[in-house]
Symmetry: C3
Subunit: 265 residues, 3 copies
């Protein structure tokens, strides 16, 4: 269940307070993530050098870590930023892009999850399953797992990590290990725009920055993603125009549109 008053309240807080979201994310989606955060009213910053992440994270309201194009210097910076976030009680969102596709990605994620406090892990079904069982195989960055198996993995992962776990897909699942909320908004064409999942993680960072009940703020983030994608798809002729209408929709989204479009349970 989503409490729509709380959802609107979070959205309005993002728009009025414009929280600073520190992203250490992949090269492919940096532009999209920054634009989505600006469109929803947050203030994005990207910084990935060990010479500055401590300072940058410490002035941010949340930290979004995305492993989509990993390399050693970036892992070092991610760890330093997460340590800083943990010390300053700043929420950390982890997006395990392609976990399971290579052991490097899986191992970096497990190292992060096992050693640091992560507030939210958001991935697709295959990625969540790979983190729960590292022998699980992923094909690149696209999901091939079933949602039932993934939900069991997600619940298990909440216990191992202490994080809220979000599975994105046709239906999004948000779980704290006991409760599960489902968000059914969206459109299948969103999977044809690169980085829509990464954008969901960035937007989750914005909601986590204003609402420390992460189970709730994750649910709100996924609802806003799904609603915006769904409304945008009505104006789009394909993945190219969908991406722009998505940003326009995030920017213009009204309370009425949210209340009329939301499908969650």
């Amino acid at each position: 269940m989503i409490n729509s008053t709380n959802l609107l309240n979070d959205l309005n807080t993002i728009r009025s307070k414009s929280p600073l979201i520190h992203n250490i994310t992949n090269y492919v989606v940096m532009n999209n993530s920054a634009n989505a955060l600006l469109s929803i009213g947050a203030s994005p910053v990207m910084a990935h050098s060990v010479h500055e992440v401590k300072e940058m994270t410490s002035i941010a309201s949340s930290l979004v870590i995305n492993i989509g194009t990993l390399s050693e210097p970036w892992v070092d910076a991610m760890i330093l930023a997460i340590e800083t976030a943990n010390k300053n009680q700043i929420p950390v969102i982890l997006d395990p892009v392609g976990a399971g596709a290579t052991s490097y990605r899986t191992q970096v994620c497990l190292r992060i999850i096992q050693n640091y406090k992560i507030s939210v892990i958001r991935g697709n079904a295959s990625e969540i399953m790979a983190l729960n069982n590292e022998n699980n195989k992923t094909k690149g960055v696209d999901s091939i797992a079933t949602s039932e198996a993934a939900l069991e993995a997600a619940k298990s992962l909440t216990y191992q990590s202490g994080a809220i776990v979000v599975i994105s897909g046709a239906t999004d699942y948000i779980t704290n290990g006991t409760k599960v909320t489902e968000v059914k908004n969206g459109t299948s064409m969103m999977a044809k725009v690169t980085g829509m999942g990464c954008t969901a993680s960035a937007i989750t960072g914005a909601f986590a920055a204003v609402n420390p009940n992460f189970f709730e703020s994750c649910t709100h983030a996924m609802a806003i993603m799904g609603i915006s994608g769904e409304l945008a798809s009505k104006k789009a002729n394909g993945p190219g125009t969908l991406q722009l209408h998505f940003l326009d929709t995030l920017y213009n989204l009204t309370e009425t549109e949210i209340l009329e479009t939301l499908i969650a349970s």
Copy 2:
């Protein structure tokens, strides 16, 4: 000559099988390349760390190497990925962005061509000439060479490299050293969108993944690029909107549109 039945067959195979295309490409175009591959129905992945490229390439159906923003760690990863592709008989597409503009770019390309098996080299006229004669000078990443001189260079390069060579331009030339196919579709405005050539290389990777007759699959890739650009330009008011309509067109392209638009010989 293009056999349109084979072209449609390749496109349908990409759409139904969604081959995984591993891209080690430049920062400028990663987002475009990923989106173009998703729009045509393929599954893109970007990974550039020596810690994971062996694993990633080995699960991919083709490898696209693009030197547009080169540095040492990336060259190391490219070499490792190409070695893996060669060992596993996975096709390798090389996009020599800016070869001739600096000796570093030219030398990295020659090192790759002389030591590894490359299936396809796709560049603009200046780049192809620079690879054939390393004293040839390029102005940045834009072509200043004539197509006749470039075609001679391309034929010579096929003998040195064993690769199919593709020259992009107002007319695209695909050659195996003896045969030449020309694709005349497209629009000059495509040159005003950054990374359209890089997108052509990514799309070539998708076709090479489903059709091991690389002379044919390159021709199909260039035809689909040109047709999509040409159809998209009818809806575009400039390079900004062209980019989106191009993705929408790739996504929606029908057999009828292809057959009615194709100009090749």
Copy 3:
């Protein structure tokens, strides 16, 4: 005051000569910057390896340095490129993205300004203030400073650096320390598209490449940015579509549109 004949003359020179602009810029905006330069008629190139920046800068007509996603190898390459530009009397534009947000960013900028000849520094109010007084704090990459205080800082910075200083905002200020030109074109929605400031720096590079009176060429660049943003916003429904219409407008901009829209003093 802007002399509109000189402005049109510069724009026509960019369109006819297509100067090569070497950008060492941040990951988030590379695509936007390249597309904006192509749309205005310039020829962008990105290169950031110490193995090639000397060669690349030496064939370029201007060098744009943007510190938005800094790390050590990039700083090394920036310094080498700036040295090359200084030796060859090629104009250098510095965009101090996020100066003041971390001491690393501020220190790298100060090192550049104090040791090399910079033609233009373009930033938002907070960044310019941070460079003038390194104890000045910035929130991420968005400006929180007032324009009056920033203009005083800008004037002071011209004396320390010898550069023309440009402050972007609702009103853009261009100063050489004594004269100030104000450009009032634009739309507030431009601040909701990531990298619009970075695009302004890239466009400034294009104008500096064709007009060595940098006070004048900066003014022209900011006028074209503001006019294009303003005209584009009339067709846009939000930041997503604004970005595309901005590129289309840059590409199609006519003398009549410029003369009818320009607001400067």
